[in-house]
């Protein structure tokens, strides 16, 4: 805004190219260019405000205004409808808190496993020649570009009672009869890890590829054993990738809907599914309250990662 008003008086001068001095002319042209850059931004910005920002913001305010002004929509988060005994203490239990608990637990588990699977893979890929790594990267990118619906369907096929996984397990004699793998928490984990693993590998790989291998050679020259080199040189340098991958996978996992709905059972309700249920039951205020809580959890985690752990530049960083 400030730039725009400052630049206003120069409007007419641009084309006439008055030659009082090159420096002044460049400065003026620079300001005119800045004004044009603001104009280029406006269409996208306005579009996003109308079709994204405003709808989401006004939906969130419903948490406090629907059906009437007040905090009634947040009551279910603090009211204990029933109590359960846990390790000798009584803790309140209700649907909302239970669903939030399940969501956080699944998101945490998925993040942990994707990190444990993804880190060695990214490490191996980053230590190969570029051509070979690019070739193998196709295995990571094919699932990345494939629809989540298709991938969830693939697991429905595999984990079925008559599915391939059961065929192999019974065939090898691990289990006498087919296991019920579908509609279980395990199925949700398997499917979500499969879908989110590329989101862990890609940032890890990008960071590891940028690590100067000469540093490790230097450490080895100075007498460090390979494990020491890894622990004191490579691991710390790869941490930005770990931070980016963990943050990305965790936040994406929090909002999952399709995979748990298709692969999970009655007990595997995540926040997104509860929100959908509330909308279907026309409890719009309640849905908005849940959406607000989900958003706050995601934002809190994002801020914790960017501020505390210093994970920078993970969102492309068009603006520096």
């Amino acid at each position: 805004m400030a730039t725009q008003t400052q630049a206003q008086p120069q409007a007419g001068a641009v084309g006439t190219a008055d030659r009082t001095g090159q420096a002044a002319r460049f400065a003026r042209q620079g300001r005119a260019a800045q004004r044009r850059y603001l104009l280029l931004l406006l269409p996208a910005l306005l579009f996003l405000v109308v079709f994204y920002g405003y709808p989401v913001a006004s939906m969130l305010t419903r948490a406090f205004t629907d059906p009437h002004l007040g905090l009634q929509n947040f009551a279910p988060f603090v009211q204990a409808r029933s109590k359960i005994e846990f390790l000798g203490t009584t803790i309140p239990s209700n649907a909302y808190l239970r669903v939030i608990g399940i969501t956080l637990q699944i998101a945490f588990g998925v993040t942990l496993v994707t990190l444990l699977l993804g880190y060695p893979v990214a490490y191996a890929l980053s230590s190969m020649s570029l051509a070979r790594a690019n070739l193998l990267m196709i295995f990571v990118l094919i699932p990345f570009w494939t629809s989540i619906l298709v991938r969830s369907y693939a697991w429905m096929v595999l984990l079925n009672k008559e599915g391939l996984v059961n065929k192999v397990l019974t065939g090898l004699g691990f289990t006498p009869e087919p296991l019920s793998l579908m509609h279980t928490r395990l199925a949700v984990y398997i499917g979500m890890i499969h879908i989110l693993l590329p989101f862990m590998i890609l940032p890890l790989y990008a960071v590891m590829r940028g690590i100067d291998r000469n540093l490790m050679r230097a450490a080895e020259n100075l007498g460090a054993r390979p494990t020491q080199t890894f622990r004191h040189v490579f691991l710390p340098l790869s941490l930005p990738g770990v931070g980016a991958g963990v943050l990305l996978v965790f936040i994406l996992a929090l909002g999952f809907y399709i995979t748990p709905a298709l692969l999970g059972g009655q007990k595997d309700v995540m926040i997104s599914m509860l929100i959908q249920q509330q909308v279907a039951n026309l409890n719009w205020g309640s849905a908005a309250a849940l959406a607000l809580v989900l958003l706050l959890i995601a934002v809190a985690i994002y801020l914790a990662f960017t501020r505390v752990l210093g994970v920078q530049k993970i969102f492309g960083g068009a603006a520096r």
Binding site: V121, A124, T146, V157, R213, L252, S272
Partner: protein, 297 residues
């Protein structure tokens, strides 16, 4: 199949060592297994789609194209596909135009609040889909646009803009602006300079952004579930309904076609990425930069 390629001794690491350490063999085997876990489930669908069985059966008892005939024979499927293609094309074109302009502004402009604006523009990537979905649903319900394909396409455009901004920004980062000054010195006006100098150089990023935008809309389910009503049944919605009700193997045929499309899109995106790197100045190549950035959906 990946085992063969991955487990082969990899050159390129410490050149002095002739033998592959046992630890490295374990690492490569582990990598091969994880990569197999990533692609195997997807390709399991392909043989199923050519199954002659009436129900999902593994291994397929015989070859048949009945599920492809079933797909092309049902208007519900082909109409949904056509609608999805239309919506995705509209959303991708609009997002590419708006996003490219915004990226130019965000990379080159210097104005207060740029960082905040940038965060807002890329935020649809990280905000959980359900939040956007119910926001747009309440908004469209109020202005009576539920069930309108155009309304759905506009919502998808908003979701797709960040992908374009991120991909185009990546190509603009290494852009040598002196090329534009040279063109203008030689008498080109701004439009000519943009069309004949800037655009050809950033084209790989623009195309990659377009592909991301297209796929984002084409595969999008959650917003569509809320906004489409009965008037805009897209392919993902049709698939969702089919998966929730009866697992008719027609969906295996649909999935196989979608996988083929994904592989083609991936190959073109990869091609664009390598070309983009060559088009830019002699920068140290950063593999999969565009993909990683795009990955932040």
């Amino acid at each position: 199949m990946s085992a063969g390629t991955a487990a082969a001794p990899a050159p390129g690491r410490s050149a002095g060592r002739a033998r592959v350490a046992p630890a490295r063999i374990v690492l490569l085997l582990f990598t091969a297994l994880v990569l197999l876990y990533l692609v195997f489930p997807i390709f399991v669908i392909v043989p199923l789609s050519f199954s002659s069985a009436k129900y999902l059966q593994f291994p397929p008892p015989g070859f048949s194209t009945q599920w492809y005939e079933s797909y092309f024979g049902q208007d519900a499927w082909t109409d949904a596909t056509r609608l999805s293609l239309g919506i995705a094309t509209f959303a991708a074109v609009l997002a590419t135009v708006l996003g490219t302009a915004a990226a130019l502004s965000l990379v080159r402009g210097r104005y207060p609040g740029k960082q905040a604006v940038n965060s807002f523009i890329v935020s649809p990537l990280v905000i959980p889909g359900i939040i956007v979905a119910i926001g747009v649903y309440f908004f469209y319900a109020r202005i009576r646009l539920i069930g309108s394909p155009l309304a759905l396409a506009l919502a998808h455009t908003a979701l797709a803009i960040p992908f374009v901004v991120i991909n185009v920004s990546a190509t603009l980062e290494g852009f040598d602006e002196r090329l534009e000054w040279a063109a203008m010195n030689l008498g080109a006006n701004r439009l000519q300079t943009f069309l004949r100098v800037t655009l050809p150089i950033i084209r790989p990023g623009v195309f990659a952004g377009f592909l991301f935008a297209f796929i984002t809309s084409f595969d999008e389910l959650i917003v569509a579930l809320f906004v489409s009503g009965t008037g805009a049944v897209t392919l993902p919605i049709k698939m969702w309904e089919s998966l929730r009700q009866d697992i008719d193997p027609t969906i295996a045929a649909v999935s196989t076609m979608l996988i083929t499309v994904s592989v083609l899109v991936l190959l073109s995106a990869e091609l664009l990425r390598t070309r983009g790197e060559r088009m830019r100045t002699a920068k140290v190549p950063e593999p999969d930069e565009a993909a990683v950035r795009g990955a932040l959906e």
